[in-house]
Amino acid sequence: MSATALSVEGLRVDLHTPGGVLRAVDDVSFAVRKGRTLALLGESGCGKSLTAQSIVGLLDPIAEVTGGAVHIGGTDVLTLDHAGRRELAGPVLSIVFQDALTALNPVQPVGRQLAEPFRIHKGLSRRAAKAEAVELMARVGIPEPKARYRAYPHQFSGGMRQRLLIAMAVALGPDVLLADEPTTALDVTVQAQIMRLLSDLQSERDMAVVLITHDLALVAEQADDVAVMYAGNVVETGPVREVFDHPRHPYTKGLLDSVPEHAVKGAALPAVPGSPPELSAIPSGCVFQARCPLATARCADERPRLEPSGDGRATACHFTEELSRA
């Protein structure tokens, strides 16, 4: 078993909204090892992106980390000042954003944006950085990288833009790479290409990857481990194969059931009733209680903690026992 590259412990993020302070991420913990992929799985608004932004220190001013620790290589990055963060950003910790169109600066040639990490961290000359950037472009599969060094983001297709963004993130071979919905906007054939590129780069540079997504199938194909998030909480973690085959949380189970792939053609899909709670209306007990078929009075009063069950898995449910037996 390789070393833990990133560990998040008890992370809390609050949002300061006109309506008051809302807890968007509540006591989130997980860890990723070198060369492995952890999927942070959840629906929109569950706090998975906020978690990622907290780790890289790019939260909007509206949000604030109010607790927890994020350890990378023995340092709690949450305690670093701006300068300390800047040193990590790139060589140690890096992130790929979802919307490649807006994540690239529209008025700068892509080559220059790609060369930037080399200029900032390695202090390379313009010429040397350009050479590195061109090489990187070739590596991520941009055709004619020399010629397209001076091209602008709008001149690339969505898939190519995503490649550029990935190239930028892996430029300095970071220890930890966060990928926030890296393929959501792409077609399936392109998605397959991008995911292949990402796994190749991962094994090449032995990176720990946190893949943030809502796509169950993508998790099944790409990730080693999964942390399922619901309403700001991690409700279940464990190796993907085991979690998907034998879910121990009713939410994980509900999600897996509602994928049409498993359903009988023409029959009604087993849907999870209702919709996720608003951040302002998260119940004090179990966050899933309103939609849970198993909910009892206990669930309304007491929030279940994420309890490790010894086999590398953990679940936050009062009925874990029952479910694991089923």
Binding site: P18, G45, H82
Partner: protein, 315 residues
């Protein structure tokens, strides 16, 4: 980019869902609250003032010419008198009404005409868009103050003409804004949706484009309010603004400029009135732009607590 931002905001339901009354939001921004109070007072003065002061604004007393502000001459002498012995206070009050009755209709006229053409052009695109933009270019190519001078000397400088000429000169501003926003909106899904059941262009513009473009246009209009008041003042400087015995702030500043050394209060006080009103309007417009945009609204509340925090970075 805006679309993405909005969508993201929508995806964070909690941020946008919690409804706040405008009053509450206003209460959280001291500057905006003060601005709103100032504007309210100005409007109140404009509406009720004439009724309170009677003929004080025109009543002359050459023997009381150029009295400085003091408490010795009763309420109407508080802010001194002008060269004809009229109460500056009464004239300020009277002028509030005239100033607003020029600035507001001028802004409204250009707003309505400019936005209608702009939305029409933006919604349809193609030759209509080019035509509208060229019209805007033509209007902008004439120096507006000179246009005003020509027209007002030809057709007499009545308040109505001042309104019309100021409105005409500002049409391109709204036209361009409305066009740009509409052109972006016409590709939005809900506009497409309206097309799928055959809604014609004007109902679509009215139902779908207008409510969304309007806040931006109103912000522009508020800023333009400042421009119109200053233009009116410049016209008075050239002698073709509001004609006496009517009085506007701009006219008071223009006429009072001669007395800056001997009787500062005649020109300075209306100047302060103009500055206060326009600054208030600008502050309120900036505030309303934030408050009206769900994706930006948090700035209002995040402001106080995190003052000094570096934008986008949390420590």
């Amino acid at each position: 980019m805006t679309a993405t931002v909005k969508k993201e905001a929508a995806a964070e339901p909690a941020v946008k869902r919690r409804r706040h009354t405008w009053w509450q939001l206003l209460g959280k921004d001291r500057f905006a609250a003060v601005a709103a109070v100032v504007l309210g007072l100005v409007v109140l003065t404009a509406v009720l003032g004439p009724w309170l002061i009677g003929d004080r604004a025109v009543r002359q007393d050459l023997r009381a010419s150029l009295q400085p502000p003091s408490f010795d001459h009763g309420f109407f002498g508080l802010l001194g008198t002008d060269v004809l012995g009229r109460s500056v206070l009464a004239r300020l009050v009277e002028a509030a009404g005239t100033t607003l009755s020029v600035a507001v209709p001028a802004v409204l006229c250009s707003l309505v005409i400019g936005s209608a053409i702009g939305m029409w052009a933006g919604y349809h695109g193609g030759w209509r868009e080019s035509l509208a933009m060229r019209v805007a270019d033509v209007i902008l190519s004439f120096p507006s103050l000179l246009l005003a001078v020509v027209v007002l000397y030809v057709f007499a400088p009545s308040a109505a003409n001042i309104v019309l000429i100021l409105a005409f000169a500002r049409i391109p501003i709204y036209l361009r804004t409305a066009r740009a926003e509409s052109a972006e909106l016409r590709t939005r899904l809900f506009v497409d949706a309206a097309r799928t059941f055959g809604t014609k262009s004007w109902p679509t513009i009215y139902r779908h484009l207008l409510p969304i473009v309007l806040p931006t246009l109103l912000t522009v209009a508020t800023l333009d309010f400042c421009f119109v008041m200053l233009s009116e003042s410049s016209l008075s400087f050239l002698g073709i603004g509001i004609q006496p015995p009517d009085v506007s702030w701009g006219l008071m500043v223009a006429q009072g400029r001669q007395y800056l050394q001997t009787a500062w209060w005649i020109a300075v006080l209306p100047g302060v009135a103009i500055v206060l009103t326009t600054v208030s309007a600008t502050i309120l417009a900036a505030w309303a732009r934030l408050a009206g945009d769900p994706a930006q609204r948090w700035r209002l509340t995040a402001a106080k607590r995190r003052r000094g925090a570096v934008a986008g970075v949390t420590a």
